[in-house]
Every structure is written in C-alpha cells, then in structure tokens.
Symmetry: C2
Subunit: 299 residues, 2 copies
C-alpha cells in the first residue's frame, strides 16, 4: 500500500504537554489543519492565528488526517491511544503515516509497528532534541527513522518544527540516535556533578572551576547551559530528570538487544534512578549533583 498522493494538509497531534503544545501550535501556524487531542485536558485555547482544533477523542483526531503525530512520553501511551472504540485505529485511514515523536525505546517501536501495519498504517519514529525552547522557536533537531517514502511523505510536516530533520535509517534509527544522545547528555551531567562536588569539598570556588573547564577539552554545551544551576544549586524549573532516567533505560534496552556493553550508562542510569526515587524527578536533570552529594554526606 503506497501513501496517498498529494501534499499533506491535515495532521492529527496527540499529546499537548510542555513540548507537544508549542509543536502543534507551530504546525497550525505553518498552515496545516491540526486536529489535536490531549489526555489530561481538552480545555486548551487555540493558538493565535492558527487552525488548531482540539477534539474529544483520538479517533476524532485521526479522522481525515493524512499524518498522525504522537508526542507522548512512552510507547505505552501510544498503545493506549491506539485501540478501543475511541482510539486512533477507529478513525484512521489506511495509508496514513503515524509519526512517533516522543522519545520511546528503539526496540519497542520496531516491535509495535506490525500492530499499526495490520491497519494499513505506516510508522516513522522522529524523536527530537532542543527542549521547550526549541519547540517554541521551531528549532528542534529531529532524528528520523523509517522507510524512505514514508519519511519523505512526513518531512514537510516535520520541517516547520525544526531547524534540522535528519533521516538516519530504518524504523527505530531515530530513537537509537536519541538514546545515544541521552547517554552523552546524562553522562556529561554526572561527570560535572562529580567534578563540582569534588571541587567544592576541596575548597575550590565552583564558578571559577567551571570557567577553567569551559575553556578546555572539558568544555561542553551542557556545562554552558547548566552553569548557573550548578553554581546556585537551584534546579528549577525542570522536569527532565525523570525523562532522562526513562531515556537511559531505552539506551540500555537497545544495548541489550544489539550486544553493546554500556557500563558507564548503566551506572549513570542508577544515579538518575536514585534522583527520581528520592523525589527529585521533576527537577532539571543537572540535579544529579544531589545524588553525588547524598552519597558523600550533607555538609
């Protein structure tokens, strides 16, 4: 079954959270008719100037849409909106492309795709980086996996949300790249957490230490972005510590499947787990400093 001919005009968008809301808004602003649905609330004001129709059920969102985007926290939530009398499957037309933009497991999205295929629906994975700022500005980086023709079909829908749309391989490739990204981000933050705590306990000024690190091979975008949080110890606003932990689990699952030992990632995953389980999952991921401090005793 090939995708329907002609340009995409109607997009269903499921998941209007911190990221999904501005992304859907940009799509509407770019001229797409957006049929949006959200789990927790239907009472969302329409964006100024855009055509963003908030509907009551996933089935309604899917009706008439040529492309469906899910920006949901995990594949379990995609599965929840898929089935049942009000689910996507009840409204979706064969030939539709479903784009999983939330960060999910690269292994799980490949395993789930046959469910969608049974309804004639093709799946593309397209997780993003760039955070809520990138979502609002339309400067996300999109890592895409899927069949060539499906990716080309949805590319015009992804572009208004992103400064870069990269097709990296077959289904799951985008999620695998995102998992690799999260390995590096989380581990860099854990390294900074240990360095900052070691320095502070040794009497160094943390701001001065970070100046030293920033100018040399230790310099990173994470250091630059998290600098003030590392100095102040104030990890609000946030929300990414729990997501960071979730995403590290996907990297470990991918390594388990393709046979890659990830000893550092496994340990860093435990540190982020501890951060979450001690009640800090809603903070910024740089709050992993708390775990190192906790292991070292308060002082």
């Amino acid at each position: 079954m090939s995708p329907p001919p002609g340009a995409v005009s109607t997009v269903a968008f499921l998941g209007l959270g911190r990221m999904g809301r501005p992304m859907a808004t940009r799509l509407a602003g770019a001229g797409f008719a957006v049929r949006a649905w959200n789990r927790s609330s239907r009472e969302l004001p329409a964006p100024p100037g855009g055509v963003l129709d908030v509907v009551a059920t996933p089935a309604e969102a899917a009706t008439g849409a040529e492309v469906i985007i899910t920006m949901l926290p995990d594949l379990a939530e995609v599965e929840q909106v898929w089935g049942g009398p009000q689910g996507l499957a009840a409204g979706i037309a064969p030939g539709t492309v479903l784009v999983v933009m939330g960060t999910v497991s690269p292994v799980a999205v490949r395993e789930w795709a046959p469910v969608a295929a049974a309804a004639g629906v093709r799946v593309v994975d397209a997780p993003v980086s760039g955070g809520d700022v990138g979502a609002a500005d339309g400067t996300l980086s999109v890592m895409v996996g899927g069949a060539d023709e499906d990716v080309e079909r949805v590319r015009p829908v992804l572009e208004p949300m992103a400064s870069r749309v990269r097709h990296l391989g077959p289904l799951g490739a985008g999620q695998l790249a995102k998992a690799c990204n999260q390995v590096v981000v989380a581990t860099t933050l854990a390294a900074l957490a240990e360095a900052v705590t070691l320095a502070r306990h040794g009497g160094l000024d943390v701001a001065e230490l970070l100046d030293v690190l920033a100018g040399e091979l230790a310099g990173s975008r994470a250091l630059e972005v998290k600098r003030e949080k590392l100095i102040s110890g104030d990890y609000r606003p946030g929300g990414s510590a729990a997501f960071q932990h979730k995403d590290l689990g996907f990297a470990l699952e991918a390594g388990r499947q393709n046979g890659t030992a990830l000893p550092v990632t496994a340990l860093v995953d435990q540190l982020f787990g501890s951060l979450r389980w001690t009640g800090h999952g809603d903070e910024d991921h740089s709050a992993v400093v708390r775990v190192v401090e906790g292991l070292s005793g308060d002082r």
Copy 2:
C-alpha cells in the same frame, strides 16, 4: 623567609618531554635564561634564538635559578630529582620557588611541600591543560595553587606559556582543578565511546550520529576534537591514554581524602586502566572506545 626582591631572570626547567620542551622553549624566547635538564637525554638542540642551556644535573639546573619548574609525569619523579648529590636540593638557594607544573596528586603535593620548605624552598602547583599544541603556541591554561606572594612571584614566568593563568587557592588547588578537569574529559570520552559503539552496532552511521550530537546538549569540545578519531578508529598520534588513567587516580585520591563519592569516575578509571593494561596506553585517550568494543565482542 620572603622571596628575593626584583624580577625573576633565571629559571630552571626540569623535564623536556612532549609538553616540557615547547614550554621551556617559549620561556627562553620570552627572555628568561633557562637552565634545562632532562632525564632521558641531554642531547637536545637549543631552540632558535632562545637562551636554553641544557645542563647535566638537576643541581646544576638549580644553581642561580630564582624559579624552578618541574614538568615531570608524577611527584615520584620530582622526589627523584630533589635529593642526592646531583639533586635540586644540592644547588637550590633558599627563597627559590619550585613550581610543579606536571599533573600530580593534589594530596601528594601538599604532603611533600614540607620537604622543600625544610630547604627554604616554597612550592606552587601549576598544572596545565591545552596539550602540546597549547604548549607550542603559548596558549596553555594554567591552574595555580599556592600562597599569594609565591604565585605573584612566578606569574611573570608562567605568562609566556599561557593564555590564562588562574590562581585558584592554596597549594594543591591547581592540581585539584586539573583533577576535576580530567574527570570531565575522561567521562565525556567514555560516554562518547559507549554512544558510538551502541550506534554502530545498531546500524547507524557514526559520522551522522556525531553530527546530531554536536548540535545539541550532547555537544562538547571533546566531541569536536576527537570526531575524526571516533569515525576512523585510528587513535594515533596519542600518548594521553596512560596519562588520563594516571590523572583519574589523582581525582579518586582527592575524593578519598575530602570525602567525595565518585562512582562514575571510579568506573571510568577502570576502563582507562583496562585500555592501558591491554597495551594501548600510548594511544590517544579517545581509544577508550576499544574497551567498550572489547567488552561487547569484536565484530
């Protein structure tokens, strides 16, 4: 005992290796009379235009020098050049400042300082980052620990070698900052090693993955500098893997002393140890990819 008045004119420089050689050359080029000594060879040509007098013993190097710089791999080598009939102590004048510029343990340099103090010699620690390129260009970053008056005394000697000379605290502070730097560098390289191996095993193109990471929160100077090595798997030229492992030991020793749990550093130290013990200590530190590959089986 206060430092002698007047500007420093004669500097002893011990250790003319990959870093020390260009550093001593820059000092000579800046107008200092440099009395240089090297463990393994005295047959070193003088730098063009500079006054660099290569002498036969540490005692000779120290004779007439107001500042003594050691650029030796560890404190054991400083101790070796200190004592005995041909050692520094035999030629050194009270009031001289000894600057330990090699990367050594912040704990050990503080413990050793009383030995020098017994001879009326003051100790400053001043490890560098910036590598052999920074050494040749005089753009090193120098992290300095020591008493204010001693650091001010040696600052004019350090400046020709560096773009930044930062006084971070009392003796040992420079080495502690360098240890923190090495924690972040080594851990970032380990994270990149795991990400690259996970990606390659999952069928992603490594160059494309690194492009994705470089533009986002995963971006780092290490990624930028090591990019070609990570893609090609060619880790020459190098020499820093063994040094990286040595330096991680100093961070762990500092944490043990000041009470900082460093779980990620401890694991990364093991990975770099393995790299060294399997015969790759002379390669670039980005070769830690080999350890992740080795744990995952060759393919």
